[in-house]
Symmetry: C2
Subunit: 649 residues, 2 copies
Amino acid sequence: MERNVYLKLTDVDEARTRWFDALEAGDRSPLAVEEVSLEAARHRTLATPAAALLSSPAFHGAAMDGIAVKASDTFGASQHRPKTLRINKEAFWINTGQPLPQGCDAVIMMENVIPRAFEPDAVDVEQAAFPWQHVRKLGEDMVATEILLPPGTVIGAYELGALAAAGILRPAVFARPRVAIIPSGSELVPLAQADRTLLQQGRQLPEFNSLILSALVRDAGGDPEVLGIVPDDPGSIAEALREAVKGPYDLVAVNAGSSAGSHDFTAHVVAEEGELLVHGVNVMPGKPTILGKVGGKPVIGVPGYPISAIIAFEEFAQPLLTLWQKRRMPRRATGAVTPFQPLPSKAGLEERIRVKLGRVGDKLLAVPLPRGAGTVTSLSRADGIIAIPPASEGIPAETPVTAAFLRTQEQIDGALLVIGSHDNTLDLLDSFLRKRFPRFSLASAHVGSMGGLTAIRNGHCHLAGSHLLDAATGVYNQADIARHLAGIPVKLVRLADREQGLIVMPGNPANITDIADLARSGVTFVNRQRGSGTRVLLDYRLSKLGISPDAIQGYENEEYTHMNVAAAVLSGRATTGLGVRAAANALGLEFIPAGVEEYDLVIPARHWDDERMQALMAVIRSAEYRDAATSMGGYIMVRTGEVVWEFAG
Amino acid sequence: MERNVYLKLTDVDEARTRWFDALEAGDRSPLAVEEVSLEAARHRTLATPAAALLSSPAFHGAAMDGIAVKASDTFGASQHRPKTLRINKEAFWINTGQPLPQGCDAVIMMENVIPRAFEPDAVDVEQAAFPWQHVRKLGEDMVATEILLPPGTVIGAYELGALAAAGILRPAVFARPRVAIIPSGSELVPLAQADRTLLQQGRQLPEFNSLILSALVRDAGGDPEVLGIVPDDPGSIAEALREAVKGPYDLVAVNAGSSAGSHDFTAHVVAEEGELLVHGVNVMPGKPTILGKVGGKPVIGVPGYPISAIIAFEEFAQPLLTLWQKRRMPRRATGAVTPFQPLPSKAGLEERIRVKLGRVGDKLLAVPLPRGAGTVTSLSRADGIIAIPPASEGIPAETPVTAAFLRTQEQIDGALLVIGSHDNTLDLLDSFLRKRFPRFSLASAHVGSMGGLTAIRNGHCHLAGSHLLDAATGVYNQADIARHLAGIPVKLVRLADREQGLIVMPGNPANITDIADLARSGVTFVNRQRGSGTRVLLDYRLSKLGISPDAIQGYENEEYTHMNVAAAVLSGRATTGLGVRAAANALGLEFIPAGVEEYDLVIPARHWDDERMQALMAVIRSAEYRDAATSMGGYIMVRTGEVVWEFAG
């Protein structure tokens, strides 16, 4: 199997410049200019300055309802000596927007026009009008030939109004840049044709990067076309590329399959068919990007992992489409955020870390999401992105750093940050909260119950989810709160009583019946991480049973959520694991109950009156939410929303 | 003619709440839920929580290229005692993304796999693999049944990726809200059918509000339908409204013609056909808004002036469409700006003042645009909006106030603010600047040459346009700069030498030949404002000729731009006015030359090295720009870009 190492990694900005220079992208736009109707012009980009064809207003018009007059006819009018004006001779009824009759140069508003008794054809005015009073003069808004909108303007509702008022009924706009997207990879199948079983066996990979890239092309004003999936061999890729550059496209994107071999094929093909300008950039995700020029047309080799593909496209393809249209590249707003924990980073590579954000007190806390380039949800869930420069080895905790925001300030400020133990009902709670209070949301990060209490102590979150059993008293949460949160008054609110149990394969092939079975030979276990409530519960039960952790095979295999424990059982990585019923139900697994535990929310008193928290409490206490959680199975929602304990600090 | 006064004006928030409450808008969405393909789902809004149908990855897969192994087979390997693994027995070649063979639980990356000489079927490893090293575990990104996206999510590129990865090929989205738009007004004609002559006589008004409102409906995720134009009488409006509420629409908007009479018809009709909830809100523009309910459906009476119509739609119709879809209403970013001059405001009304913005030093300066509700360009040109609350009578100059931004921070920061005398070549310069440097722009405000020098002195702009003739020396600009800008070093850069002259109707019916003719009986003049260079030039010439301003009829009629002077002549408001040739050319008027004057840019030394300024200078000095200005007529661009004088301050 032939393999290639990357050429020298190039800085993102340098790579972009090298590609743009080779294309003369700043000077030579391949886009035609076309005139389109105003109906079709929305979201298109002006190619030439839009100069008014008409003046607006096109005449002197009334700016008020009333009478049009010649101002000099009213000079000298006063309350004691009103002037009488004859209708249709010296005074003309006029509505806002109507043109002034010949000879008139002012409007007197209705409220100041006094009807004369028994004389319907005359009115009195008690105050002189000054010339051009309440008149919209010709050209007040725009004068014919004036430039209204510069080229590069993206046409929205306001611009449509200006163009229409100016009589520009067919503005000149850039033709949409056309982008060919070639998915490549032998295991890829079109999304709609994917077979569930083959997907689960890894014998098929659903092809959906082209869907994402198409949306990114449209976001940049372009017109995507997805060509057929090309197998992972140099000949096929070369043929597809040759065909595409001959086609009506302005840019060709080759999207590698997820196998690294194909990246190299693409680079070779670009080098052989044209010019290979960049092979590998020093950004992570996004490293295996290829930039080149074939048949005079720009070609981008987009990495296979979705997050890498998105970053490569946003850094290189979108700016090119934007530049050709003379548009401004929209940049995200940025601001300082405080990482909740240290963010280590590889030196020599710029790392883009996706984060959840929550404004707690005066700090905007950032909680990192999984870094993998394949975790597509790390972008759909993210509120912001922290870029750690190549020269840095990472960011220490509590050190402010710049993030680019994916949400508006208002959305970020509307989020409650819950850190601690994970529970499925928290995701459900977020959905119900957003539905009822669209301004608010619940951003959650999963670090286990103890991690949640630590976050509360450090002021790193608004609330924490916790289910920590005290071995001495058998009471949940109170002992640990008293121990770790001295000086911090909190309320303890019941979210759910939930069943914990052993998750096993359907039919329970290993015949697991209780915790004691974990020490049996041949049984492998998947554990939760240290500090999680489930781990505390397990250790409590083991010590009661007198079983040493050493006796349990897989005790050291840690997962961070119930769902991942269930997934480990489903995949055969472990015989069983301890978790909630909902996780077992979700994956069609069997559940051996091991008891009911108390899952509570720890809420510092200082956040209790926050309007977001009160909204959350209203949702927690709603029948709608409790019913939905109950129907997931394994939850007893009777005490949900109750303040079960108050800790004075 | 029957007329009505407004009912009591209602606060915007109160009006919205009253309308929403009457509609039970928060609880009862009229929108159906439909399942659409992912291709069709872009920009649609999720109606239900999107729960993963598949786990992702769907299997344990390699995260690196290399060999898949069982970790325990490698335990004990070291550089001195490598472990030998047989290919396809203990080690399996694997590419990133491929599933691990049964029994394997780790991947060793290519770089650490050592081929054995003469043994193609075996490799050595010199380091133990730990379990799950370089493996993407089943469910690492998402686990089936997990909620990925909450309802109300607007689906973009990232969300499409998450939905596809989760196997959700037909997400449940809200049906687009359907909005009927009924234009009403007897003078209105469809835009495409408008006759230029009738428009200029005010006998026709082009109907284009429906185009703007349709774009605003689409921006909020809705589906607009523009119904036929309805004449301005209660019977016709009532019939159109009755028909529309019976139709397949979720919201009906009646857009009054610009005559105020029609607003009242709409209010009456709504009251008679259903329930009139609000008639008049205390916001300006936007006051004559009507909110009601007919046949159980929401009805909005939208004012006739475009800016009023937009504000009414943004305050009431868009939030309703957004709420129905459980979307978050996008709010504009806000920040502190400093008004360049006092902003008076009527007490009792909230005023929305559109402003140009420029960051000068550490202040974001705001220059107000025309306030009229009919000046549609005041929104298309605006960078921000300052809302002055009803209780306030205005904002003093230099007092920071909050503005909502219509541009990104980057766009605002890229703008150079030029204040002073107006010249058409400045608009042209903005177009050329944006074209060559898409990050930068030139925001101009017109207050005359002296106003420009004052703005320089106060640090209110980056540069000023000036053509101030010194009567004593005959030299332009230098004397006034020396007099008014003591302590402020500036460079004086020639923008253009331009012809000034008398603008007259085609054929010059009053036979104007020079400035002396202005004093002739029967000749009316339109002047420029005090402090403008043109005014200084006029006064200089008059004094040389010994003509008193009192002898000139219309000397006191002031306009702020050359174009408006030309418009005054075209409309017959004045026989002639002094202005540049370009303005006369633009409106097809005749031009009697009265001399060449020097139009310069005054640039403080402290802004000279600013990258925006250097970009501007590069454009000013380009042949492309100079040629375009020359071809407008009346400009001599020979010394353009030359630093003609430096003032040490």
